[in-house]
């Protein structure tokens, strides 16, 4: 079952519909409800290698539905610590639970000041409505 539309308050958002959940110097990344809804049921998550360096606004992977493909744009720079194997094996988990079991990667941030450039939930919700 696809999740109902929601945008959690505690997350930081990137205008390309990616979110980050910060925990100390680490962050978990995923795509928003809006992104998964636009794509439709996901069939593939092309994940980065653990240990890879990713850059803010750069691409760190791809997600695909049957008829669409989307770059994963990183909201933050850092090193990939972990890839969500469940999302690799069963990508539909991203549709079912985009902010929980459907997270994509966990990184160690290299520049926490980048957080200031991200949107809060109010700004992101406004951004989605303008789409």
């Amino acid at each position: 079952m696809p999740a109902a539309e929601s945008y959690p308050d505690e997350l930081r958002y990137h205008p390309e519909h990616d979110w980050a959940r910060v925990d100390g110097d680490e962050a978990t990344l995923g795509i928003t409800w809006y992104a998964q809804d636009s794509l439709g049921e996901l069939v593939h998550f092309e994940a980065p290698e653990v240990g890879a360096t990713i850059a803010k606004d750069g691409t760190y992977g791809e997600v695909e539905s049957v008829k669409a493909v989307s770059d994963l744009v990183s909201p933050l720079s850092g090193e990939v610590l972990e890839v969500n194997q469940k999302a690799v094996d069963e990508p539909e988990v991203v549709n079912e639970d985009p902010y929980g079991d459907g997270w994509l990667v966990r990184i160690r941030m290299s520049d926490s000041s980048e957080l200031d450039g991200l949107m809060d939930v109010a700004a992101y919700t406004a951004h989605v409505e303008a789409q």
Binding site: E41, V43, H44, E64, S65, V66, K67, P91, E92
Partner: protein, 496 residues
Amino acid sequence: MSAEPGRPWPEAPLLFERSRPGRRAGRPPRPDLPEVELPDSLRRARAPRLPEVSEPELVRHFTALADRTFGVDTGFYPLGSCTMKHNPRLHERLAGLPGFRDLHPAQEDDAAQGALELMWRLQEMLAEVAGLPAVTLQPAAGSQGELTGLMLMRAYFADRGEERDTIVIPDTAHGTNPASVTMAGYRLEKVETDARGNLDLEDLRAKVNERTAGLMLTNPSTLGLFDEGIEEVARIFHDAGALLYYDGANLNAVVGISRPGDMGFDIVHYNLHKTFSQPHGGGGPGGGPVAVRESIEPFLPVPRVVREGDGFRLDHDEPKTIGRVRGFAGPFGVFVRSYAFMRAYGPALKEMSEAAVLNANYLLARLKDVYELPYDRLCTHEFVLSARALKKEHGVTALDVAKRLMDYGFHPPTIYFPLVVPEALMIEPTETEPKERLDVFVDAMRAIAREAEESPDVVHDAPHGRPVRRLDEVRAAKSPVVRYLFEDHPVLVEAE
């Protein structure tokens, strides 16, 4: 075993399921010669699991599969951008003449004069249609023609010592255009379409500069609209020292009316399988000849077909050529068909385009009150409607309309393309359809719009009368099964 009520489509087992060990059809000749010893490392250890079937079963198999396939021969096929016109059967007979079919491509030129003459004459006719002097027939299809055109641009600028790395493409372009740009090693710059469906000239002027190698444009565009500003577009590129590439996907609209060379294009590809009647074959083959201006001719692929006195030969010796883009001199059987097609019409090819455009405008006129028309102009050979209103009001999408058309006996139009139109339905009737067939198509499209309002479930659940209903495409993509899994036999049909 029992017949399934209401399902006129018998099951179609796979060849591998029809197979029985020891059964066979063909028996190749075995001369009375000793068998040759091969080293173990080279000799095949396990036989390939090819089907083991008798000839009558093989014939029934392919007949059953043909029955489950819809072609232009079956019915109306208004698939936008694909030009699904009638394919004259004479052409199959001609392409199968032993003098063509059994002619080896490495045959000496003096023993292939008829083939070379046909190719040379086809080049001449295509040059006249494009308004450009030099033609290569070699590319295998439209997208290879595109790639060839981009390689020609690269060679042309390299020869002039210019470094240009960008190709401009409109947002309405076929996906082949950007894909070809990448394969040719160029960078992509996208330009927008204005409110009338023409290239946005302001946007264009801002993006064309000394790094621009050229433009790739389909004209009329994938919206079925002729670019009214084409002369200015050409000026912008030529003033910047860049070239214009014409994607001939929609040439069927303008043969004998307006020539790409006269519009200002320097390089043109044709789709012989669209405009010039090579049958589409369930996906191919095609033909993608390319025509160019004199200044680009030295770079054309080899071999070239040239005339010398009364004879013809393959010329391999062109120092500036980009090289070869496929084997031999091109898909010759396709040339036979397209040559015959052009000779049948002669100068009346113009009437072909006129009829294609008339048919499209007639459909447009009769449908635009029930489906939204995003660009309200006369169209050329095709037009794009939107099912946006149906979706908003009744939850019926372009996909639903397409599937429901199947129940009325029509192949659906192209859907969800071009990308600039939401819920797009791209309709191209071609010139060969009679008015009464267009009329029943109109009736079906109008009926579906009514159904969307009155009984949307019928439309959502369509098709109802095909061998299968809508498919689980997610399953196909998520865990791909792309060959018969002998080991799992007989898996496949899932119960409830």
